[in-house]
Subunit: 247 residues, 2 copies
DNA sequence: TTTAAGCAATGGTCCGATAAAATGCAACGT
DNA sequence: ACGTTGCATTTTATCGGACCATTGCTTAAA
């Protein structure tokens, strides 16, 4: 190695053309300069404006599409319409994370215990009459389905999500929607839905719903906490603590 | 409108070729048949195997890349390597959601109040000595920076995230990392970092850290709850409840 | 042995063309 | 007047080929 003068040039990263275009469009969307429902220019227009090839333009659009920021349709008056990413987008991302990392059921249930009591409290605070009616209807179907495990589980899921949605807290709703499906899937491998536990769950739901109906925030919080903590302790019992009785 | 026989044909969706390929590859990854670190076939190999054009193959790879499932490098011995999506991937998704929907600071702080006490409890339970040392070091820098608002905020953020990481609960860590940055950004528009409040925060952090060091789960939970609930009440005071004193 | 030049493999980018889908419009028949 | 059908138009989807840029390996030269 001969001695050379060492220049102080930092490593230069060459971003991809499609990434640059995607970043610019993304920024315009999050800043609100491209509101939901408005259409991006056509691919060929973007080619003309950006000076890039159609390949790069399309790569950028694919990125935005998989981020849930646009939705592309073909045909006349088609194109790429701005569509704000919904909670399902967050849920997909979390689900990928959970599944690829093999997150244990224990962690997911701990997560739920952290979140759902607050959701119940906020639901008691913010619920509308329509939301209450929906929860009540689900609860009645829940009671009726106590003998059919399959629909029992589905309705149970829906009821918890209905409470979450009634809370009005979008980030927490998204988290709850994100972890509900993995929890439900993982629960299939456990046998935590005995007839006795199902009866207990029905009672727990009843008192929680009463608290939410009465707008009793503390009661909703506490009863929901006992409910989900009970599930956690049954599914993943910890050392030294007996599974608490649910209800 | 003349009467016709109504056929029971459901709407037919024509999936895109790239979506199909992306789904297949995604499934192979989440099922573990393509472990992290392994390489996908080269683009040209995928073209040969799938019978699709290189455009479609590349579209599929772009989708997987933006999902954080692969990372593509150019050059000889380059290609698309399987990389499991990290918490940053979830954080990006949540951040997009929060920013595009204009989620209010109130909701984010409520979210934090729901999550951080549990994180403190789990940190008290699961912390390693190394994690405690990191938190303590950050705390000392926190105390020293009480007069420099900029570094104060940065260190504050890091300290909270350090506690989250010490909890060992990956989903909750991801959520915390996801909402921390938006909260910090939104806080800039509020004036909630007066010198007095900073001094109070230092005291709060001190007692929380003591509880975590002593592995006192309940104390960690309660003190963290008072701390973050105090922030919430100061930043977004609700009707009828005075902002609680922090500490 | 060391260095530099050349080669090979791979993704990045570009171009042009055709296929497929969706919409609007006009012609047609009733 | 009405509804239906077919055609034209616009747009994305897909294809095929070519060349460029980057990277790592190999080989030849000093």
């Amino acid at each position: 190695m001969t001695d050379r003068t060492t220049s102080s040039i930092a490593p230069i990263v060459v971003p991809k053309a499609s990434d640059i275009l995607a970043s610019q469009l993304r920024q315009m969307i999050v800043q609100g300069r491209l509101g939901a429902g408005t259409f991006l220019p056509t691919e060929r227009s973007l080619v003309a404006e950006s000076g890039l090839s159609r390949t790069s333009v399309r790569d950028a659009l694919r990125i935005l599409e998989s981020e849930g920021l646009i939705s592309t349709k073909v045909g006349r008056s088609g194109g790429s319409m701005v569509t704000l990413p919904g909670r399902d987008s967050v849920a997909r991302s979390v689900e990928l994370f959970v599944r690829t990392h093999g997150i244990r059921l224990e962690s997911l249930l701990e997560c739920r215990v952290a979140v759902e009591p607050t959701l119940a409290r906020l639901a008691a605070r913010n619920r509308t009459d329509a939301a209450l009616a929906e929860m009540t209807a689900l609860h009645e179907r829940f009671i009726a389905s106590v003998d059919d495990v399959k629909s029992y589980k589905a309705i149970n899921l829906d009821w918890h999500l209905a409470i979450a949605r009634a809370s009005g807290n979008e980030p927490l709703i998204a988290l709850m929607e994100a972890i509900s499906m993995p929890i439900s899937d993982a629960m299939d491998y456990q046998h935590v839905t005995t007839p006795e536990l199902r009866a207990i769950a029905v009672k727990a739901h009843t008192v929680i719903l009463q608290a939410i109906a009465a707008r009793d925030e503390d009661a909703a919080f506490n009863r929901m906490e006992r409910h989900v903590a009970g599930y956690r302790d049954i599914a993943t019992p910890r050392n030294g603590t007996k599974p608490a009785r649910q209800g």
